[in-house]
């Protein structure tokens, strides 16, 4: 499953955010994804793909940046 779909499904189940509004250019702040929820999304990827995220990563601001980060880690560690 691609990273954007995983993020959309997660936000739909946890925050009832309609998947069609989770677009690459959407800001995480505008979607009410706070630091705790972002940590939960990251954990979802870590858990699902057995990834380990470096602790000093720059926090993504948009859905597109989050997707790019997850895609990169999946390709490096997957």
């Amino acid at each position: 499953m691609d990273s954007l779909t995983i993020i959309r499904e997660f936000l739909d189940s946890r925050l009832e955010i309609a998947p069609e509004t989770v677009l690459p250019e959407a800001k995480l702040d505008d979607l009410d994804v706070d630091s705790l929820m972002l940590a939960e999304i990251v954990f979802e990827f870590e858990d699902r793909f057995n990834l380990t995220l470096p602790r000093n990563l720059k926090s993504p601001r948009t859905v597109g940046e989050l997707v790019a980060l997850m895609d990169r880690l999946r390709s490096e560690q997957g």
Partner: protein
Amino acid sequence: MNRRRVAVTGLGLVSPYGGDSGDFFARLLAGESAIGFLRTEDVPRPLAMPFVACPGFSADAALGRALAGTLDRFAQLGVAAAFAAWDDAGFPRRAAAPDRESWGVTWGTALGGTLAYEKGYRDLWQRGRERLSPLSLILGLNNAANAQISIQLGLGGVSMSHTVACASSAIAIGEAFRRVRSGEAPVMVTGGSDAPQAYAVARAWEGLRVLASSDESGAPQSCRPFSVDRGGLVLGEGGAALVLEDWHHAIARGARIHGEILGYGTTCDHSHLVRPEAAGQQRALEQALADAGLTSGDIDYINAHGTATAEGDPVEVAALRAVFGERAARLPVSATKSMHGHQLGAAGAVEAIVTLLALRERALPPTANLADLDPACAGVDHVLTARRGHTLRAALSNSFAFGGSNAVLAFGAVA
């Protein structure tokens, strides 16, 4: 000290019957048991015990999915109860209100987020996972309910949890009462919640040999306080909340006043963790009466702690006899846990609501399943069926906890 009168302007609970506090009280008057049966398929041995659940409660519906997802079951029940009490008090949710910076929350929970911790243990040790979700810690916090109540209602004063076993929410209410009475806060949200159905928690209670046992068909009648054949308490989940308000503040905004908190007493037996002592309970009763400026002759009803344990019930009656003397035999007493079970950290708040509604509705709920009184529990006027139409002026609610902590709340009817 300039003492303010303390009104109760909001009542809210998550009821095992599914309705609001008025419906809850009506079911108790009717003698209707909320006790069902808990079955789980947990390893290594399935749970099967009488239990009071709130099957009609949907956290997503009551709180919204986003909020519900950040709370363990005990906190979901608590925040939902607080919302119900807040709405009942007629306050708008999250209105911009700078005056709320001194309004606060005190909350009781005996167990906190044990379901969340148990899930973590299972994930790590049973399922072999190596890490836990970031929310795991947040879900398990004992102060999760009061913190989220403060956040959701925009309350900037004290936000504190009280963990005092079965007296947790009675003590939370008492501490909130003191803050309103002293003028520290004009409005306090208070109450308690617990969800004791975690496998290890239920097994731990079972190990103490204080739980009623029965098969599923006998569960509704399995809790029999003061009865010679009583077999112990019935665990339950629940949440209950009150809004306490400075009397003049309530009058000024035209609030409906359900009743008044008149006094609060809290003591410790300082003798044993699980064996109660009448002397400590007696001191709590006397302290509550003195704090309220009442004498034993002013009390028209007592909602007993009455858990239906072998040791606890006669000790409580002995304490009542010691405080009320010759009048004890005419003192109406009932143990409503016989119907709504023991919600641990929520119990004191549930029973505070029952006591307030008894005063407001001039109706006394019964002790269910009391067909054969234990002679050791005699000497008070046990209410066996609902009584209506009595003039009720003041009443007490007892909460006596493991650890020897005792709490007694005194309530007054609105004239």
